[in-house]
Symmetry: C2
Subunit: 196 residues, 2 copies
């Protein structure tokens, strides 16, 4: 691991837990195990370093794919939602910090806010395919339904450690119920025992 990469990783880590102002060049250099001056020689300024570090951290995205031709909605959607939820949960500190500072540092969030938009698009497309394939019988707006599931997963990823009293069931049990509720909501026949 080169010094540059150590600095980028340390910068993302320190930023996630301390924010822009809290991520001082001393702390980042200490976390990276290099001298503070080396930081400036590599990146010139704190701003440059943080922008590059967060853009790199936000680019690490690959939420699972949704099938082009739906066959088993409960299984397919549960699998996708589980991957998406785990992904958000792993990055919750970074996401929270970015959200809290988006008004003060709007340039930083631009590297983070695209993945969820793409995920919502993919999900909406899948829900539309469910309807077109006569698997979902109700009339519904697939964009809004996709936003609903995304918001639910987002709320779970952000809220479960902040407000544990609100989450009585386990992550996985909740997840399966989310999917069941949504699918029933768009008119998919759901039998209780079917999950994975």
């Amino acid at each position: 691991m080169t010094v540059r990469e150590q600095l980028l990783a340390a910068a993302a880590r320190v930023y996630a837990e301390a924010g822009y102002r809290g991520a001082t060049t001393r702390r980042i250099a200490l976390a990276a195990g290099v001298n503070e001056i080396t930081l400036f020689r590599h990146f010139g300024s704190k701003e440059t370093l943080l922008h590059e570090a967060i853009a790199r951290a936000g680019a690490e995205i690959e939420s699972g794919e949704l099938p082009e031709i739906p066959v088993d909605p409960v299984r397919e959607l549960t699998r996708w939602a589980r991957a998406h939820l785990a992904h958000m949960r792993d990055r919750r500190a970074l996401i929270r910090t970015c959200m809290g500072e988006m008004e003060e540092h709007p340039g930083i969030i631009s590297s983070i806010d695209k993945p969820p938009v793409r995920a919502a698009m993919a999900l909406a497309g899948y829900l539309r395919r469910l309807r077109d394939g006569k698997l979902a019988a109700a009339r519904f707006d697939e964009q809004v339904a996709a936003t609903m599931l995304m918001g639910t997963l987002f709320g779970d990823a952000m809220g479960r450690d902040m407000m544990p009293e609100m989450f009585t069931r386990s992550t996985d049990a909740s997840l399966r119920e989310y999917v069941r509720l949504l699918l029933r909501g768009i008119g998919v026949a759901v039998d209780q025992a079917d999950d994975t």
Copy 2:
């Protein structure tokens, strides 16, 4: 408005848009239109002031009530969700900042995180009453269903200005669709035109 109240209001405002470190005593005093020394004479320290200011801002809560005996689920739930969403949306800057700093300043969030828990409890109770009153026919976990709607509203309140591409429908149209999807998900008969 006394000097104390001006300082508390200004502190909450500045904190919401700049965070703990960004809410310097000079900025707060300037925003309140008083001298910086007056701030210290009243509150002794920045920490004391911010704690009191945020506790006060978080205490301003009154999300609408849900009826004890459900009659018209779509109407009642839409009304409640609209009030709740508007409330979160109005306070989104403060909520975002608190979330971003909850790991660094855990004491601050303790004044903010109770209202949503109470709201989720009230909502879960209402959904249970729907089921007990035979208005909701499906088998479902009312806690998880309540968390789902709360997460959806939270995601809408936080995400609509951050990722406008994700929200194609208006706030109110989305809201009505959220409620419809959830109610159909728990087995309530929903006719398309019924909303308010």
